[in-house]
Structures are given as structure tokens and as C-alpha cells.
């Protein structure tokens, strides 16, 4: 167990990180992600307010749809990345990272400027379980009458899972199909056990409970950013290749001007994915060397259990940020060769 944003969380369960990772890719994995924070925004100006403090376009959402976005600073850097759920035209739910929940809450309150909204930090009102993998839909369907096939990717519905009122969301952080289930926290244990039962936990192809380490390797293979690694208050969305969640023409939002300028000028450094080509494993914070110059740092580096390669993300100067570029990573004093590759590293078969 480790402390993670104030939560006691398992790094891995008895099966171990590699098995948890592989099972999620081939069958299903269950993650207790109740540590995630939730902020409720309700009122006639809910959409206008959230649109002003985030970079993606909340106006594009319909009821029952979710969106990946970021809370941005005036410098175009990232306070947090989050999901916005549109429950109704006057009711949004923001799902934020655990370690940043308090900071986000303060930031959101302090940027509230007269819009008619009621803000509530409801993090303690929800547990969240993520059931991920190709078998996720069949497992969850055993526990609910809600036709899960009808929920499209990045959409959600209210329904009952094992007779427990839930938000059933077709989202995730693994690169697999799957669901995130939100319910009142007193039901967490029961939901957890019922999903494991329904998923034949304990059999060779059954669901496996997965810890933080597998959550990290799965999201890395899928090319997804992790707050505090690829993105933080010192990296802009454009540097982090998150231009797709920067809707510069949606109207004003915090950081829009800087981001528009940066888009016109071009970024000086860029986040890239790399594959280690020598023997060795690149790790977080190790330096990237190109032409004998120390030009950047690894933001996440790890073995990729499904791809059976050692991969990572790093920031490098924009002039070196093209696929095929050879780089070196200083792995505890040894320069290990690597090559910039396309991300995501892993894409699930459709």
C-alpha cells in the first residue's frame, strides 16, 4: 500500500502488475478509483462558467455526454486535466485528479465571477470503480438492465448496477473499452465484490483487481497523459500535444490568448513518445541527450507489459520532435539509445 494523494492505495494485488496489465488488455481489470475528486456545478450559467475556465468546448456536449478537458492558467499551462459530465443543461459534474482536488476546488471557486452557479465539492459523495477491457461490457451487463451497448464511447447514463443507483460511463484510462461506475460510497465494497463475482475472478480468464502500477502502465501504453508527469503548471497544452482539447475559437477562456499566440508562433518544446532501442529501462525524470546536449527530461518511463518494450514520454526541443529521431536517455549514468515513435504506443483492435 502507498499513500496516493492522501489515499491508501495498493500498488498491485497478488497477481502482480504484469498479469493485471495483460488481463485488462485480454479480458478485464477492475480498478478502485474512488480517490478521484468530483465537483458539482449547477445553475443556469453552469455551461458558460465551465467553458470559461476549461479549454475544450462544453457547448458541444449533449446530456449524457462526457468530455476530456483541462483547467488552464493564463499562461496556457495546466491546473488539472479532467472529465466534464453533462447531466443536464444546468448541471455538470467535473471529475478531477485526487492529488489536485483541493487545488482545483480553490481555483474554481476563486475564478467564479458572477455566473449563476452553485459549486459543491462532492468528492466524498462518490465511489468510483473502473471496469476495463474487452470483456468489461459482458461482465457489467450481468449486473444491470441498462442496455450497455447503447452507451456510446464518452457517453454515460444513470442506471442501477446490482440495484445500486449509479452513473454508468463508457470511459476509462487504459486504452480499452470499458466503464467507469460512480455510486454512493457506502456501496463501494458490494459493487467491487459483485463485479469480481460476475467477472469470474479467480479463473484463468476472469477479471483481475488492478492496482496503481497497472493503471500507470496501461495509460502509458495507451499514450495518455498523467497529471504531474506529462502535464502540470509548467507545461502548456500545446507542448503536451493536447491541442485537440484547445478550442481556441469557442470564445474566451483562461489562457486562450497565450495558447493562440503559442499556436501561431509554434512551440519550443514538445512531448514525444519514445521506445528504448538499447537494453535498459528509461525512468521518470531521467535526462534526454541529443547530439551530446542534455535537452529534456523523461516524464514517464516504464516497461510496457503488453507491447513487451520499454517506452516513455519525454519533452524535447521542437526541432527534434519528429518520429524516427534518435535520442539517448541517461539511465543512472549510462546513455541508452531510444527512438521517437508515434503515440499512442498501443491501440486496441476494433
Amino acid at each position: 500500500m502507498i499513500d496516493f494523494g492522501g489515499w491508501d492505495m495498493p500498488v498491485q494485488y497478488p497477481a502482480g502488475t504484469i498479469e493485471e496489465h495483460l488481463r485488462t488488455r485480454t479480458h478485464a481489470g477492475l480498478f478502485d478509483v474512488s480517490h478521484m475528486g468530483e465537483i458539482d456545478v449547477r445553475g443556469p450559467d453552469a455551461i458558460a462558467f465551465v467553458n470559461r475556465i476549461t479549454s475544450n468546448d462544453v457547448n458541444k456536449l449533449v446530456d449524457g455526454q462526457a468530455q476530456y478537458t483541462a483547467l488552464t492558467t493564463p499562461q496556457g499551462t495546466v491546473i488539472d486535466d479532467l472529465l466534464v459530465y453533462r447531466l443536464a443543461a444546468d448541471h455538470l459534474l467535473l471529475v478531477v485528479n485526487a492529488g489536485t482536488t483541493d487545488k482545483d476546488w480553490d481555483w474554481i471557486k476563486s475564478h467564479h465571477a458572477g455566473e449563476q452557479v452553485e459549486l459543491k465539492n462532492v468528492s466524498a459523495d462518490y465511489c468510483q470503480l473502473a471496469l476495463q477491457g474487452p470483456d468489461a461490457i459482458a461482465i457489467l451487463q450481468k449486473l444491470t438492465d441498462t442496455p450497455l451497448d447503447d452507451i456510446k464511447y464518452y457517453h454515460f447514463t444513470r442506471g442501477q448496477v446490482d440495484a445500486i443507483d449509479s452513473i454508468i460511463s463508457r470511459t476509462g484510462y487504459t486504452g480499452e473499452d470499458g466503464f467507469e461506475i460512480y455510486a454512493a460510497p457506502e456501496h463501494a465494497e458490494r459493487l467491487w465484490s459483485r463485479i469480481l463475482e460476475a467477472g469470474n475472478f479467480g479463473t484463468d480468464q476472469g477479471v483481475l483487481p488492478c492496482g496503481l502500477a497497472a493503471r500507470n502502465t496501461l495509460r502509458l501504453e495507451a499514450g495518455l497523459a498523467l497529471y504531474g508527469h506529462e502535464i502540470d503548471e509548467n507545461t502548456t497544452l500545446l507542448e503536451a500535444n493536447l491541442g485537440w482539447i484547445c478550442k481556441l475559437d469557442k470564445g474566451d477562456f483562461i489562457g486562450r490568448e497565450t495558447l493562440a499566440q503559442q499556436k501561431a508562433d509554434g512551440v519550443k518544446r514538445k512531448l514525444v513518445g519514445f521506445e528504448v532501442t538499447d537494453r535498459g529501462i528509461a525512468r521518470d525524470d531521467q535526462e534526454v541527450v541529443i547530439n551530446d546536449q542534455r535537452v529534456g527530461k523523461v516524464t514517464s518511463g516504464s516497461p510496457a507489459p503488453f507491447l513487451k518494450k520499454n517506452i516513455g514520454f519525454a519533452y524535447v526541443p521542437a526541432e527534434y520532435a519528429s518520429v524516427g529521431q534518435e535520442i539517448k536517455v541517461d539511465v543512472r549514468g549510462r546513455l541508452v539509445g531510444a527512438q521517437i515513435v508515434k503515440t499512442p504506443f498501443y491501440k486496441r483492435p476494433k
Binding site: G16, I18, R279, S302, P303
Partner: protein, 130 residues
């Protein structure tokens, strides 16, 4: 319970030593491999390299973490377990056998007497995990 063979010597850094004449075979214990989790990479020195006692001679990596491994006693490397390059998981499956790491010629074979016995090591790991 972790497996702690009677006939080996142990260090507080969780290495084991098997003495064969003036040579010592060294690896990490069952307790160590279990706390590390799946080993995915092992970095070892080259034959001929000399090490003092209690000096890092390589590293063992799991998905999540890197751990250094230390020479319990001083000596010169005579061979390494080359097969770990392709099958690092042997450290998990057979830590006292196929998962051995280095063989060295001891500077002073008497040095092993300063290491822990199996019983002492068992007590040590119990205390550490409490």
C-alpha cells in the same frame, strides 16, 4: 513464508551467498524477489571487475521500481548469469537456483562468517516486515 535455505549466508540487503571453495555465488533472496514483484530487467557487471564488500554491483528492475544489488563480500567477478538478460523472470521463479546473479573469487573467504545465518536472516525479515 519466504523460503530461506539453511546452507546459505545472507546479507541485510537481502542477498544470499553460496560458498564453493574460494568462490561465492550470489543472488537475491526469495523475500527480496517477492517484495520487488515481477523482475523485468537485471543489470550485472562484467567478469574481471573487482568489488569491495557492500558495494552496488548491479540493479534489478521491476515494472515499477529499480533496486540496487550489493556485494555482501569483497572479491573479483569470475562469471555472471548471462541468461538473466533474456530471462530475468528466473529471479522470481528460482531465486536460489537459476536466478543466481554473479560468481566471484573472494578476497578473504573468512568474510562470509560476518554474514547472517539462515535463522538470523529469517528473524531479520520478520522484524522488517512488522
Amino acid at each position: 513464508m519466504a523460503n530461506v535455505p539453511e546452507d546459505l549466508h545472507y546479507s541485510k540487503d537481502h542477498e544470499w551467498v553460496r560458498v564453493e571453495g574460494d568462490q561465492a555465488i550470489i543472488g537475491i533472496t526469495d523475500y527480496a524477489q517477492n517484495s520487488l514483484g515481477d523482475v523485468v530487467y537485471v543489470e550485472l557487471p562484467k567478469a574481471g571487475e573487482k568489488f569491495a564488500g557492500n558495494e552496488p554491483f548491479g540493479s534489478v528492475e521491476s515494472v515499477k521500481a529499480v533496486s540496487e544489488v550489493f556485494t555482501p563480500i569483497a572479491g573479483t567477478i569470475t562469471s555472471i548469469n548471462e541468461s538473466l538478460a533474456d530471462e530475468p523472470e528466473k529471479v522470481n521463479s528460482d531465486p536460489y537456483g537459476d536466478g543466481w546473479m554473479i560468481r566471484l573469487k573472494m578476497d578473504s573467504p573468512g568474510e562470509v562468517d560476518s554474514l547472517l545465518t539462515a535463522a538470523e536472516y529469517e528473524d531479520f525479515t520478520k522484524a522488517e516486515s512488522e
